[in-house]
């Protein structure tokens, strides 16, 4: 905790900060803040161009960060594309597909289908809705059960010979549910569909190895993984990235250019038009090194302990319903809940008064809220810097909200 300067600041009324909103964005260790600042202070230059010392050092720092990311997820270096966010990464895949010519394995047409799940974040739903709209393909979705798991019994009839893409989240940002990637990938492979994994809520929290998962594409963000905002990752299997069309055109991404036409640099450069977010990438590299120093097994074990403790404590609360799996099996450190008689915004407001930062609302998963017949939830999401005492503070805060609104 000492590594995270923001956790030392005081909140309303001098209360200490209980930060339970890491699902939205994580806090940053000093080493990440320093890495960005040092890059600007000592190495700043445009990468991939320029023949001076600064450009060489900036290049080494930026490409060094790419190598750290690749090692972190078990990828080849050239399979790692820097984007501005996971949202951009997923849109990049969808736009690359629609930029592909007819007959390409990435092109979709009427009669084809794209399958997502009912628990997707808007960022892994709307790009596919729009790709379907642009191409005439049909969007289908795997339903979620009352317990907050995917209904795998629907897989066989939803993922069929028409399916070209199966896009799903590794861990739900609302429910905490960790999906069975192996089963979903097997269903997609059987029909030759490409798989896209939204790993925003998994890569920060447990070891993820792209090769063993068997997916084709994976997206995650820097800022949820202790890194800076404005940096995201698109990973794709090398042969797919090679065959795909770019989605942004301009400087840096070309091989040669005439007044009439241009050809593209090999991946990942082909997908990184313009001067990239160099300091962001370097800061992100520092964030992953910080996680490496902790060990992802330890990160996961600690979050499992927090999850179990929180679920136990919440099960004792009257008038409080946890939305999502009630056990800690295949479940991440996210507790979404409703409080009978109090709107999530009002719960969040009372918690804020106690220095507790939570997320309230629909969590960019509006269809999931509708599924459960609620307008929103209050969500506490945990990370490495949280303690069991934070959960006690949260539980006391929820009770104080119930008292304030006189519902108990």
């Amino acid at each position: 905790m000492k590594d995270f300067p923001i956790l030392r600041r005081s909140m309303r009324g001098g209360k200490r900060l209980t930060y339970l909103d890491s699902g939205a964005t994580s806090q940053k260790p000093q080493s990440v803040i320093d890495a960005q600042s040092t890059f600007y202070a000592e190495k700043n230059a445009a990468v991939h161009r320029g023949a001076h010392l600064l450009a060489e050092e900036a290049d080494a720092a930026y490409e060094g960060a790419r190598k750290i990311v690749a090692n972190f997820i078990g990828a080849e270096i050239d399979e790692v594309v820097f984007t501005k966010s996971a949202t951009e990464s997923i849109n990049a895949i969808a736009y690359s597909f629609s930029n592909s010519g007819a007959g390409s394995r990435f092109s979709l047409k009427p009669g084809d289908s794209i399958v997502v799940t009912e628990m997707e974040h808007h960022a892994n739903l709307i790009p596919w809705q729009q790709l379907a709209r642009r191409t005439g393909a049909t969007l289908k979705w795997i339903p979620v059960t009352q317990e907050g798991r995917l209904d795998y019994s629907t897989l066989d009839h939803l993922v069929d010979s028409s399916t070209k893409v199966l896009a799903f989240t590794h861990q739900s940002n609302v429910l905490g549910t960790i999906n069975d990637v192996a089963q979903l990938v097997a269903a997609a492979k059987k029909v030759g569909a490409l798989t896209v994994l939204d790993a925003c809520q998994s890569v920060p929290h447990f070891a993820v190895d792209v090769k063993s998962l068997g997916v084709d594409f994976l997206a995650f963000s820097g800022h949820k993984t202790l890194g800076p905002t404005g940096i995201g990752i698109l990973w794709g299997r090398a042969e797919l990235l090679d065959a795909m069309e770019p989605y942004l055109y301009g400087g840096s991404m070309i091989e040669s250019v005439t007044m009439e036409s241009a050809t593209w640099a090999p991946a990942p450069r082909k997908f990184e038009a313009g001067v990239p977010n160099m300091a962001g990438a370097v800061g992100f590299g520092a964030a992953l090194e910080y996680l490496n120093s902790l060990g992802m097994e330890n990160v996961h074990a600690w979050e499992q302990e927090l999850t179990q403790y929180a679920l136990d404590k919440f099960s004792e609360l009257k008038g409080v319903t946890v939305i999502g799996p009630k056990d800690a099996i295949d479940r991440g450190a996210v507790i979404s809940f409703t409080v009978e008689g109090i709107h999530p915004h009002d719960v969040g407001q009372v918690l804020d008064q106690h220095g507790i930062a939570v997320r309230t609302g629909h969590h960019c998963a509006w269809p999931l809220m509708k599924k459960y017949g609620i307008t929103g939830t209050t969500r506490a999401s945990f990370y490495i810097y949280n303690t069991l005492a934070d959960i006690d503070t949260l539980v006391a805060g929820v009770i104080s909200a119930q008292e304030y609104f006189k519902v108990i």
Binding site: P344, H345, Q353, G361, T375, G376, Y404
Partner: protein
Amino acid sequence: MELDSLYQEVILDHYKHPHHKGLSAEKDVQVHHVNPSCGDEVTLNLSVDGGIVSNISWDGVGCSISQASTSIMTELVTGKSVADAYIILDNFSELMASKGTMKGNEDLLEDAVALAGVSKFPARIKCALLGWMAFKDASVQAIDGSEKP
């Protein structure tokens, strides 16, 4: 406690016992407004007769602030001319933007002055304005509709 400046008793009263809630069959126009950041929704039915708000009713889901504020608004504008309602609306908008520096004109805003504390909580201002913006939208449509031959 700072919270009490936000959740005044009159707000909690309106939240628990909202006025004009439940959609009336009588309406010239119906609008549906949402707060995309939190999912709160309000559906508002409005009738304007000779420039006067003759009937207003609403339904919705949302936090105490959005629900109470909508209830207070409907109470305020009923029976008033649309022009007078806009004066109230402008005054209320100014209060919401005041960052806690204004108390609100009680003669004009009545119960709505209880919402003055909201202006100190930037994240909640949109909640307080949800119903009011729905009314503004509905009244513009109602007037446009009545001017057509």
